[in-house]
């Protein structure tokens, strides 16, 4: 019986080497494990949520703002919903939305950035001015308009946020391409007769994009926050009039939700967002924040006067 020995392909040994190098850095390994755990939570988390109805709209105002206890491992929020359940169920949405936003924004941004930087001249000018426009459009308005035009679903919110973020990636890529296309290896490639596609490929795979990697991977997490913000704003918009916007944010302070109200799906930064909503609502009322005495900060929120901080 003959054993057929197949030589490992170059490609598989390349990946094996990369994996070994990655394993050597213990810190990277820990980081990768943490991310995998997070993804795991996102996937199977919802099955373990002790109070799944809390993520779908139930409120228990009598239980609001409880500290961590045996029934509520992470306590309750200001309308009594179990925070742990909301986290578990919402993380799926957050990560999913962030992933899609990143993919879309980086695809558009990186591609346009490479085209802009590589070809230069008129193309560069055109793309850069377009980038300028999108960099300066107010993101809130963009999110609201997209929600109004396309409906407040998460997908449309994701579109809106990608539209806001692609210019950032575009400018970064363009800058790096402008710098790298002067390198010797590009000149050499051109000299031996490579066509544009091959030169671009050599640029992309030259392995010196760590700045980009940082922006996409580490700062990509910021997109999680924004997807939530845009979603809430989108929700508010479909109620169609500014007074309902104020009524909605009034609800966020701890009032009873209006009848027929559809609860937006929870995500990771609900608490932070509601804090924001509270500040917005406070801004809508006159004398929202003022100083009674030089040492005291008083805030009028939802009809109550709250002393926020008192000095000596």
């Amino acid at each position: 019986m003959q054993e057929v020995l197949t030589a490992p392909t170059v490609r598989s040994t390349l990946w094996k080497r990369r994996w070994r190098r990655f394993k050597q850095n213990r810190l990277s390994l820990v980081g990768a494990i943490v991310i995998l755990l997070l993804v795991l939570v996102a996937i199977v988390g919802p099955f373990f949520a002790p109070y799944p109805e809390d993520a779908r709209g139930a409120v228990h105002i009598s239980d609001r703002l409880r500290p961590p206890s045996r029934e509520h491992l992470m306590g309750t929020d200001e309308v009594g919903r179990d925070i742990l359940s909301r986290l578990l169920i919402g993380s799926r949405l957050s990560l999913g939305a962030a992933l899609v936003i990143l993919t879309m924004a980086t695809t558009i941004g990186l591609t346009l950035g490479m085209i802009s930087g590589f070809f230069g001249g008129r193309v560069d000018t055109l793309v850069q001015r377009l980038t300028d426009v999108f960099l300066t459009v107010p993101p809130l308005i963009l999110a609201m308009a997209v929600s109004a035009a396309l409906g407040p679903s998460l997908i449309n919110v994701v579109w809106a946020i990608s539209l806001v973020w692609w210019p950032g990636y575009c400018r970064l890529t363009r800058a790096e391409v402008l710098h790298k296309k002067q390198e010797v290896f590009v000149e050499a490639a051109r000299a031996i007769g490579c066509d544009v596609a091959q030169i671009v490929k050599s640029l992309v795979f030259c392995g010196a994009w760590s700045g980009q990697a940082y922006l996409v991977l580490v700062r990509g997490v910021d997109r999680v926050d924004e997807s939530r913000l845009a979603e809430v704003v989108g929700e508010q918009v479909t109620r169609a009039s500014p007074e309902v916007v104020r009524a909605r944010t009034g609800y966020a302070i701890g009032g009873v939700p209006p009848v027929g109200h559809r609860e937006p799906l929870p995500t990771l930064i609900d608490v932070a967002l509601l804090e924001m909503a509270e500040l917005w609502a406070a801004a809508g009322t006159p004398h929202a924040v003022f100083r009674v005495r030089p040492d005291e900060l008083v805030r009028i929120t939802g009809g109550r006067v709250v002393v926020v901080a008192a000095g000596r």
């Binding site: 300028d132 426009v133 109004a148 790096e176 009039s241 916007v245 100083r291 000095g311």
Partner: protein, 337 residues
């Protein structure tokens, strides 16, 4: 092409950018459903009152007419009035914008002055304790929510330490210096008013520090990543072999080549911060543009939205122009033909 011509061309291109920007923002803000006149009239309004407000602000005119009127007003200096507060937009902007400008400039100064050296040190001491310390610091800067940090600082520093203020731009007893630029620090230096200077700086400290955390983290990480790539290059070895001082090697040969992505991020961060950070401004009672912008957006107050967008467009375009010019300065091989 020569530098002067390039500069002129870029400045001229700002006009079509602003045109596109205002058109887009105008269209988008009118797509959003909602009636600012209704909100301005209040909960007890009669239909006649709402109609009166709509007439007053020309909200019933067809959209192209409204946009044309807006453009006409733009060039003549009349930027409209807020439907909610009836104040002219120019007056509001004149108060709020310099405040944000000052805060953002201070924050970015901290971010750049601390971040770049930290990034270089981090790259050079790669995988040793300064590197780990600065990476943890950078991570905190990015992860901690700004408003939470602001509240913490306010609680633990401003309320405990005697001279640190809770908020505001300047001590109300001292009052702002004579108005040249609207930036209290600069104005007080120009007016030789040193008590005002001290007060303005102290009030600037905490908010600027809070706001600088995120850009600081980004600048540090970007510098570190780029420097790490560069440090392994052959020409760095050559420079050292030539016997150059380590500082020259690192700065002129290393950092200069690594600086492009960092410069981009500085420009982008500067622009984004200019958009106004509502929460930090609210917590520190800083009368900046953040709250104004958010309120206008949520109440669909068209003229303030357009006004803010216009100024923001000019500022961001100028920042991008400056960054592009600096690219050519840092890397002389870059040409914009």
């Amino acid at each position: 092409m020569n530098f002067g011509l390039y500069l002129l061309q870029r400045l001229a291109l700002i006009v079509p950018v602003l045109f596109g920007l205002t058109l887009l923002t105008f269209t988008l803000s009118h797509i959003v459903p909602g009636d600012p006149a209704l909100l301005a009239a209040g909960p007890a309004a009669t239909p006649q009152l709402v109609e009166q407000i709509r007439q007053e602000f020309g909200l019933d005119d067809p959209l192209p007419i409204q946009y044309a009127n807006y453009l006409k007003g733009l060039v003549t200096g009349d930027w409209g009035r807020s439907i909610l507060s009836r104040r002219p937009v120019t007056a509001d902007l004149k108060v709020f914008w310099p405040a944000t400008l000052e805060l953002v400039l201070a924050a970015m100064t901290i971010a750049v002055v601390v971040g770049i050296p930290l990034g270089v040190v981090s790259a050079v001491a790669h995988d040793r304790w300064p590197d780990h310390a600065s990476r943890v610091f950078a991570l905190m800067g990015v992860s901690l929510p700004a408003f939470w940090l602001a509240l913490l600082l306010q609680w633990f520093i401003a309320l405990r330490v005697d001279f640190m203020p809770i908020g505001g731009r300047i001590d109300t007893q001292i009052g702002p210096p004579d108005h040249f630029t609207g930036l209290y620090v600069i104005d007080s230096i120009l007016a030789r008013d040193f008590t005002a200077l001290k007060s303005a700086l102290i009030h600037l400290a905490l908010p600027a520090f809070t706001l600088s955390m995120a850009p600081l983290a980004t600048v540090t990480r970007m510098t570190r990543s780029s420097m790490l790539e560069i440090l392994g290059q052959d020409y760095m070895r050559t420079a050292r072999a030539k016997g150059l001082a380590e500082r020259t090697v690192l700065l002129r040969h290393g950092l200069r080549n690594a600086f492009i992505p960092t410069l981009t991020m500085i420009g982008l961060s500067l622009g984004w911060l200019m958009g106004g950070s509502v929460l930090v401004e609210t917590i520190f009672d800083w009368p900046g543009i953040g709250l104004y912008a958010v309120k206008s957006a949520l109440t669909l107050d068209f003229m303030p939205i357009m006004g803010i967008t216009f100024v923001y467009g000019v500022v961001f375009s100028l920042i991008n122009l400056l960054v592009d010019v600096l690219y050519a300065f840092v890397d002389p091989r870059i040409r914009y033909t």
